[in-house]
């Protein structure tokens, strides 16, 4: 008799969508809180957003175990940085660190899709968007994860950032006010939840500005 063989993969896709929008003096980072595997929901309250430093916040979807390992590694690296430099890492520095960390595992990648949002040294909003092996770009807004194909065109439509090919380079921050940006994020997640089975349950929004950090929540469809 042939043995019935169970097979395994070192990767899983736990789904979820992430969005970040940079403004002149703020940054909004958002993600849903559903965690799934295949057609099953594992939990409806798993935060995909991780505060890496005072002024940088990362939202990640993909394979949860890899994401967790990545978050722990970055936290450890940031602790060392604080001991050596006696200050918090800036968001652009953290962006480079994240890129290097992802590329370090180029041939057994972290299956994680990240957006990093925060405030740069001038207090301006900044968003960095990545692929799983670390290529990254500073942009005005971005979305990653299972619902990104649904969300991205609408963000393009509403935020129309100047082409990155323009010379001299144009500022990529969005013209919206903070409240408008938060509203936009709520709209895109409500839309993505309609059509993406891996997005839903609850929306977690983190807002960074000169006053500090603030969190908001919104219920999403649970089906």
């Amino acid at each position: 008799m042939t043995k019935q063989q169970a097979n395994w993969s070192p990767y899983d896709n736990n789904g979820g969508s992430c969005v970040a929008i940079a403004g002149a003096d703020y940054c909004v980072i958002a993600a849903d809180t559903r965690m799934s595997t295949g057609y099953s929901i594992l939990t409806r309250e798993y935060s995909k957003i991780c505060k890496l430093a005072d002024k940088s916040v990362m939202a990640s979807s993909g394979f949860q175990a890899d994401v967790k390992a990545l978050q722990k590694l970055l936290a450890a690296r940031h602790l060392i940085y604080q001991h050596q430099h006696n200050k918090q890492m800036s968001c652009p520095a953290m962006a480079q660190l994240l890129s290097n960390t992802l590329y370090y595992k180029r041939f057994f990648p972290y299956y994680s899709f990240n957006v990093l949002g925060g405030l740069d040294n001038e207090g301006k909003g900044c968003v960095f968007t990545y692929d799983a092996v670390g290529s990254y770009e500073r942009v005005g807004y971005s979305s990653q994860g299972s619902g990104s194909t649904l969300i991205m065109p609408f963000l393009d439509n509403q935020l129309k950032s100047p082409s990155p090919l323009l010379l001299p380079a144009q500022d990529a921050v969005t013209p919206l006010s903070e409240a408008e940006a938060v509203d936009l994020v709520k709209t895109v997640f409500a839309s993505a939840t309609e059509r993406d089975i891996y997005t839903g349950d609850k929306l977690e929004i983190v807002i960074l500005n000169a006053d500090g950090i603030r969190r908001e929540y919104m219920e999403l469809r649970k089906d």
């Binding site: 042939t2 043995k3 169970a6 395994w8 070192p10 594992l42 939990t43 175990a65 967790k68 390992a69």
Partner: protein, 249 residues
């Protein structure tokens, strides 16, 4: 599958790929497995339930396997999947608790710490392409704080108010989501778990009617003696499953 067998028996088997099973040093597939574990938070702590079957493929090989074990003073661990891997994990945990105890500083590892340790062990083993073939449930209470979490074979982990592994995620979690609430009493918690276990018994082929329910609170843990659920097989749909489906078997 039939074709594969024929080929295998007729051809000389020199390929190292085909022969790799003989000298493999890792779990390529599970041998003896346990089915679902379910657990929930209730008013005073955590309740966990698992049956006592150990399946060898589709054979019910063992009927008295304890799949819920205490870890240290504050935690309970329930496991589904490969039972030998579970026992290896218990050896790791015994050592962990022992070495922690030897500090003799009055501190002890709580459920949160043990759960975190488990996530790292599971993830580390998957990184070595040598996974421990289990889904684990960890529950416990320490300093008035209830904790309930899960870890999968490849290190995916989370906390929730109620969790279930394997078939339990399909059959028991919907019931738990419907009926669970924060202030569940011990009696209601046990009733809810038994309801879930009964559904699993009816519909999960590898489940057996011999289970243990474990409780952990601030005062400590108790794991029940094995017992059976009352079942009723007299439903007309059970007795004549093909009624209304003429022409089928």
């Amino acid at each position: 599958m039939e074709k594969m067998t024929l080929q295998d028996s007729n051809q000389p088997n020199n390929s190292p790929l085909l022969n790799s099973e003989a000298d493999s040093q890792r779990t390529l597939y599970p041998y003896v497995t346990g089915t679902s574990v379910i657990a929930l938070k209730y008013k005073d702590g955590i309740l966990m339930a698992a049956d006592m079957g150990g399946s060898y493929g589709s054979t019910l090989r063992y009927k008295c396997v304890e799949r819920i074990k205490p870890i240290g003073k504050h935690s309970l661990l329930g496991a589904s999947g490969e039972l030998s891997d579970f026992q290896e994990l218990l050896r790791y945990l015994d050592e962990l608790i022992l070495y922690d105890n030897m500090w003799d500083d009055g501190n002890s590892l709580g459920p949160k710490e043990v759960h975190n340790y488990l996530t790292r062990v599971m993830y580390n083993r998957r990184n070595k392409f040598n996974p421990l073939w289990n889904s684990l449930v960890l529950g416990g209470v320490k300093n008035g704080h209830k904790y309930l979490g899960m870890v999968s074979m490849i290190g995916v982990n989370f906390e929730d108010n109620h969790v279930a592994t394997g078939f339990g995620n399909h059959l028991a979690r919907p019931i738990l989501r419907d009926e669970w609430h924060e202030n569940l009493s011990f009696e209601d918690g046990v009733k809810l778990l038994e309801k879930c276990m009964r559904v699993l018994l009816y519909r999960d082929r590898s489940a057996v009617n011999k289970l243990q329910i474990a409780k952990i609170t601030e005062e400590g843990f108790t794991i029940s003696q094995p017992y059976s659920l009352k079942t009723f097989w007299g439903f007309s749909a059970f007795q004549n499953p093909t009624v209304g489906a003429e022409g089928s078997w």
